[in-house]
Symmetry: C2
Subunit: 344 residues, 2 copies
């Protein structure tokens, strides 16, 4: 019960793309993204509509990479941080592909990959699925905290919502037209909602780290494996604060990630150049870093196996005002290189 889902038919991520805003393009991974807009506007006249445009752009980039059109995609899984996830439904959702709307906050990328792999395993009629997720700094900050124009002082634990999006196209790995070098999803573990009593909207890392720890402890307890079986153990957007908490929580429970841990929120920005405090966050943070950095490493065989634990803080401003807390969740997928005998 509640054990790891091992997909009978592994699923390949046969194409993917990442698009980012200006600050992200100036970061250490800048050269790896498929597209960036230095103005963060993506051709639209409000920040919210900019994110809609980003959502369509990043799916189109992945489709172009695959040499396909949206008409070839059977199912689209998508979500974002805007209320009613409208950047997704009015963004990539407007392209006519049968649509499954998700709400997993910054964990949406992991949630979507897991559900897409389930759908491709369950249904003969589904042969191609897409996962798209985005976030936009200016749209998120004014919805969840304050408009950027206020120039509010940010605390050291606060994170910087990334203006970024990732799109992933998936198919069953054993189908003849899927490149064998594509990275594969072979297993997954659905996250549990964790309440750690955090009420500080400027400390998402603390709200998410216990959920990531819960998922990793459940995974290694059920898998009969150790962190040494994975070249990388990658969390979504815990940032520096949440990453330190995660490692501490795991050590207290006898699990040492032994230098294998990386966090997309820490990787996205250069702390000496960008004033992002504890690192990046947002649905698009882990999605863009997965697409730009980790999937290519899996495709080249530089990483043979990795865990991707997307992390979400399900923060509701109205719930916080009524005395609620910031709930965390962290779905996990196992990613494996399709390159046989790939070296570490």
């Amino acid at each position: 019960m509640r054990s790891i889902i091992r997909f009978p038919r592994p699923v390949s991520i046969y194409a993917h793309a990442a698009a980012v805003g200006g600050a992200e393009a100036e970061g250490p991974l800048g050269a790896l993204f498929d597209y960036h807009d230095p103005t963060d506007r993506f051709g639209a006249d409000t920040w919210e509509k900019s994110e809609e445009s980003l959502s369509r752009t990043v799916l189109n980039l992945a489709l172009v990479r695959a040499g396909e059109s949206q008409d070839g995609i059977d199912l689209l899984f998508s979500g974002d941080l805007q209320n009613q996830c409208v950047a997704s439904s009015a963004g990539c959702g407007s392209m006519g592909v049968p649509y499954v709307g998700l709400y997993g906050a910054c964990s949406t990328c992991g949630e979507g990959l897991l559900l897409a792999a389930l759908a491709l395993n369950a249904s003969r009629e589904t042969s191609r699925a897409a996962v798209v997720t985005t976030s936009h700094n200016a749209a998120a900050e004014r919805q969840f905290r304050l408009p950027l124009e206020y120039g509010g002082q940010r605390t050291p634990t606060s994170q910087w919502t990334a203006t970024a999006g990732g799109a992933f196209l998936l198919a069953r790995a054993d189908e003849s037209d899927v490149a064998p070098t594509s990275a594969r999803i072979t297993a997954g573990l659905v996250g549990r909602v964790l309440d750690s009593g955090v009420r500080d909207g400027a400390n998402m890392g603390a709200a998410m780290a216990p959920a990531a720890a819960d998922t990793l402890l459940r995974f290694f307890s059920a898998a009969d494996e150790t962190p040494a079986d994975y070249d990388r153990i990658v969390t979504g957007d815990l940032g520096t604060e949440g990453s330190a908490l995660l490692l501490e929580l795991l050590r207290e429970n006898g699990l040492d990630l032994a230098g294998r841990h990386r966090d997309c929120g820490v990787l996205l920005f250069d702390p000496l150049k960008a004033d992002v405090h504890a690192g990046g966050s947002g649905c698009g943070c882990s999605a863009s870093v997965l697409s730009a950095l980790f999937l290519p490493a899996l495709e080249r065989g530089e990483i043979r196996r990795m865990l991707f634990i997307a992390t979400g803080a399900l923060m509701s401003p109205s719930n916080l005002m009524q005395g609620g807390t910031i709930l965390g969740i962290a779905p996990l997928v196992v990613l494996e290189s399709g390159v046989i005998g790939g070296d570490k």
Copy 2:
């Protein structure tokens, strides 16, 4: 491509429950619900927290009916209308079951049933799944429109967000401990996001009817069946306005539902007693009516086969203020009676 998903292993809804507020309990289906709170408060001190409580209550009711605890459930699919779907994550999500957050507005019940059936078909490790969805009139009205205390005049096309929730427990139909009289999900069709240019937040029926028509036309085009193959064709919450539009759109496209159509939003309230205008709406509307009225009819064999088309208006107030429209979506599931030779 994009055809109907036919589940290799049909999935049974082996237990379910519906809980509602005061106005819903006074409606024509009042005696059929498992639980109601005439104060709409469900023991909480804000409307938003009342919905959280309703979410937990309705899942517990279904678990009690099944004689199970939440520890036996492998996966929980849930969503609601509150921003960040917090009534679900802080409600039933707080019960420790691995959690998949959905955003499908009022279509969430259909979306969740479809995904749960996919998960039960894809994964040996998943043997029990739950779907929970809720809405609360007072929480929804003040988030999407105006606080009820303002006493704003409502237009004839407006609908009344139901204070209601439904919970469904699912397992593979061929497992030995599943009662053969349970209703089965045998197929499904994922909805597409439809933009019909509607900008009136008091006319959700008009925003959803084209999406329901799109799904039904795609279904009958792919299924090589006619409405006569189904005893009932049930939409979620189109209300009187949206139902009339649906039938008109279908007739224009050569499809006549021939008296088989019912709408949960029309059924929930008595228009002579409750001042609900065009009918009920909200995630909990179709969920509670499905659980209280249609699933029992399937279990008794009074309905042999039916289509359940949940309908969602993905309305975003901020998007509307920026000139956007109200997008519609309508996922479909095929429900069949488990009673062999059941009479119409």
